[in-house]
């Protein structure tokens, strides 16, 4: 029986495979992943945590701009991306999605380069169908629905995934995107990382609906709530939805319940509006530690493995940061050149004026 028929969000049911301590609570639902995949899942989550922390450190040192931390979202992000085929499927992410970027193979140096304040870092490499993330909240949901319609029109048997937070479900674009998806029965997987907070606004102030997952019913397609700190649950739910999408079964909404362990961004201070106890409570459900306990039970984790994973991640991160920092800033021409396919006479004049101003100032 598919997961969407087993767990009814209206009855408060949600998919959990690992318990809070990381041991299997639903052994019959355990996905059959080979040991190498399990180890890779773990390594990706650890790399996400470390790479995210690196960005926060760089920000504090003034080497990186305002940054939206993914701390706590590792299972959501890695679990969502892990079953994707990024050369065929399409992904429309949002601005808090580092683990998804990492899992899909987005160059780490480009990722840092962008957050350091350079447009060039946002250019997705050829062959990777990862749309550049949206900052205006929820606006990417429509793009994903449109891409889903295009896949149908073009006869592609692919899935289109989009991610967003709980706050985004209050935007009109969420309604419109899911409505199009329902009407046109698009191959979409809508993944909401419900991290309980949209800056200072708690989830209960976004919607009076008991769950976000149940909103899918009103659009005529299934919704499934999952424990977003359980990477096996996220991966299983998304995998099933991807299969359904690729085989013409229509869209799915997945609500992955997690917690924003950090501030909204480095410009925010969450201590002002949320109780410290709540953060502590969620710390005890850390997605990485839970999964670590699971693979340790399977004999796949020991201290040596842990050290190897961390050292490899740290070395990749250091290399990427050094590379990103060594790149020159954009030239004045770069800043003008991408406004249109070709520069207009007006833009040429303005570029010339900028250069003259710089010359006069002796730059």
């Amino acid at each position: 029986m598919p997961l969407i028929d087993r767990f009814a969000p209206t009855k408060g049911e949600r998919l959990e495979i690992l318990g809070a301590d990381g041991h299997l609570v639903r052994p019959e639902l355990e996905p059959s992943l080979p040991p190498e995949s399990l180890k890779r899942l773990y390594a990706l989550m650890v790399a996400t945590r470390l790479g995210d922390q690196k960005a926060l450190n760089l920000q504090r040192q003034g080497r990186l701009g305002t940054f939206a931390s993914s701390r706590g979202h590792e299972a959501c992000q890695v679990g969502t991306a892990f079953g994707l085929r990024p050369a065929e499927d399409w992904v429309f992410p949002y601005f808090r999605d580092f683990g998804l970027y990492l899992t899909l193979g987005y160059p780490l140096d480009d990722f840092y380069h962008y957050w350091m304040g350079h447009e060039a870092g946002l250019r997705t490499p050829e062959g990777l169908n990862l749309f550049s993330f949206a900052i205006p909240v929820g606006s990417q949901i429509l793009h994903a629905a449109g891409a889903g319609m295009a896949a149908d029109i073009l006869g592609k048997k692919i899935a289109v995934v989009t991610t967003f937070g709980d706050g985004a479900t209050s935007e009109g674009d969420f309604h419109e995107g899911l409505n199009f998806a329902g009407v046109f029965r698009t191959p979409n997987v809508f993944v909401c990382y419900n991290n309980q907070w949209a800056i200072s606004t708690p989830r209960r102030r976004q919607t009076a609906s008991p769950t976000i997952a149940q909103k899918a019913a009103a659009y005529g397609f299934p919704g499934l709530a999952v424990d977003g700190n359980d990477v096996l649950a996220v991966f299983s739910a998304v995998s099933e939805a991807l299969d359904r999408a690729r085989s013409g079964g229509g869209p799915t909404l997945i609500e992955a319940e997690t917690y924003r362990m950090g501030d909204h961004t480095t410009a925010d201070d969450a201590r002002k509006y949320r109780p410290e106890g709540e953060v502590k409570d969620w710390e005890s459900r850390d997605p990485i530690l839970r999964f670590q306990a699971y693979i340790r039970d399977k004999g796949l984790w020991d201290e040596t493995f842990e050290t190897d994973v961390k050292e490899k991640a740290a070395s990749d991160i250091e290399k990427a940061v050094a590379e990103a920092e060594s790149r020159p800033a954009a030239t004045p021409e770069d800043v003008f050149a991408h406004t249109f396919k070709e520069m207009t006479p007006r833009l040429r004049d303005e570029l010339a004026e900028l250069r003259e101003t710089h010359e006069e100032a002796g730059r």
């Binding site: 900052i135 209050s170 800056i199 200072s200 303005e350």
Partner: protein, 324 residues
């Protein structure tokens, strides 16, 4: 008392809420968090959750809800967290807020205030640096106001809240904490639609608003050291704007440079320039010049300065006018 623009805006809101029980404050994170820039700090404690409240994350919702509130006589002061996120609400602003008075022959109005921070210069993420005041200036029935200092901010926000027409109140984020200034403690209102001559001069008139005013003043000081006398005009209300003050100044100086951070193409500078051409052509010693942002998306922080309209570029413009 000396205060920052953030503090001055906060004081204006607090005093108007005390004076008029119809004033309500709504928006994303305006309650417990006090707004991401802290402009609404403490208001929820003083006036309660029925008058100061966090909304769901929905900009069209915030403005549409405010129209309904205004219909029943409340005076909503709605915050849009950044101007770059106002566009989902554009339909409500254009189709309802601005034209309600006209289409109901005055039976219904929506005299709300829409506050939002805007502009470059704070090393922000994408969508946080644009200056798109011209979109709003183009809409009949809307008043667009921009303060250029803490005292100006208090006086103009007070007047905006008291206005019987809807006001889009744009707050230059670069000036939020840039300087402290003496701000009158009590009731303090600066009339809308009146420009201010910030600095008198006789050779060139420089018209600007918001964060461009400090830049113009700096350029004017430098110009003075080479013997040029610049008159600076702070437009304050961008639409409907005070033609009289601009024309009087241009007729005196014979030269005009319009300075704005927004892109040049179809920016407000074009409108001001056209008014000068229409009504003061024979007083001009040189063509009206615009010194503006370039017609590009504001670059990310590492090259943000390429976009910057600062004293250097304004001074170049002033010299060009004098050399004509």
């Amino acid at each position: 008392m000396k205060m920052t623009m953030v503090q001055a805006l906060n004081q204006a809101l607090a005093q108007e809420m005390a004076r008029d029980p119809r004033v309500v404050v709504l928006g994303e994170d305006v309650g417990r968090d006090g707004g991401v820039f802290r402009v609404t700090e403490g208001l929820i404690d003083r006036y309660g959750e029925r008058r100061v409240f966090d909304t769901p994350l929905a900009e069209s919702g915030i403005i549409g809800i405010s129209v309904g509130m205004a219909a029943l006589g409340l005076k909503p002061v709605a915050e849009i967290q950044f101007m770059g996120f106002i566009y989902p609400a554009f339909n409500q602003i254009l189709s309802h807020v601005a034209r309600l008075r006209n289409r109901t022959r005055g039976r219904f109005t929506a005299p709300l205030v829409i506050r939002t921070p805007y502009g470059a210069g704070v090393r922000a993420l994408e969508h946080h640096s644009e200056s798109t005041e011209a979109f709003f200036c183009h809409i009949p029935g809307l008043t667009v106001v921009v303060p250029s200092s803490p005292a100006e901010a208090k006086g103009l926000l007070t007047a905006s809240i008291r206005s019987e027409d809807p006001v889009v109140f744009l707050e230059p984020s670069r000036l939020y904490r840039a300087e402290k200034e003496e701000v009158p403690d009590g009731d303090f209102e600066i009339p809308l639609r009146q420009a201010r001559v910030v600095r008198e001069g006789k050779d060139v008139t420089a018209v600007g608003w918001g964060a461009m005013i400090p830049a113009i003043l700096k350029a004017a000081e430098e110009a003075e050291s080479s013997g040029l006398s610049v008159e600076a005009v702070d437009l304050r209300t961008l639409t409907p704007f005070d033609e009289e003050t601009i024309l009087a100044s241009v007729k005196k100086t014979g030269r005009a440079v319009i300075v704005h951070e927004a892109p040049k193409n179809a920016g407000l500078g074009a409108e001001i320039s056209a008014v000068i051409a229409e009504k003061a052509l024979l007083s001009l010693e040189a063509p009206v010049l615009r010194v503006t942002g370039y017609d590009i998306t504001p670059p990310l922080p590492k090259t943000e300065d390429y976009y910057y309209v600062g004293p250097e570029r304004i001074l170049r413009g002033i010299r060009r006018l004098m050399e004509f």
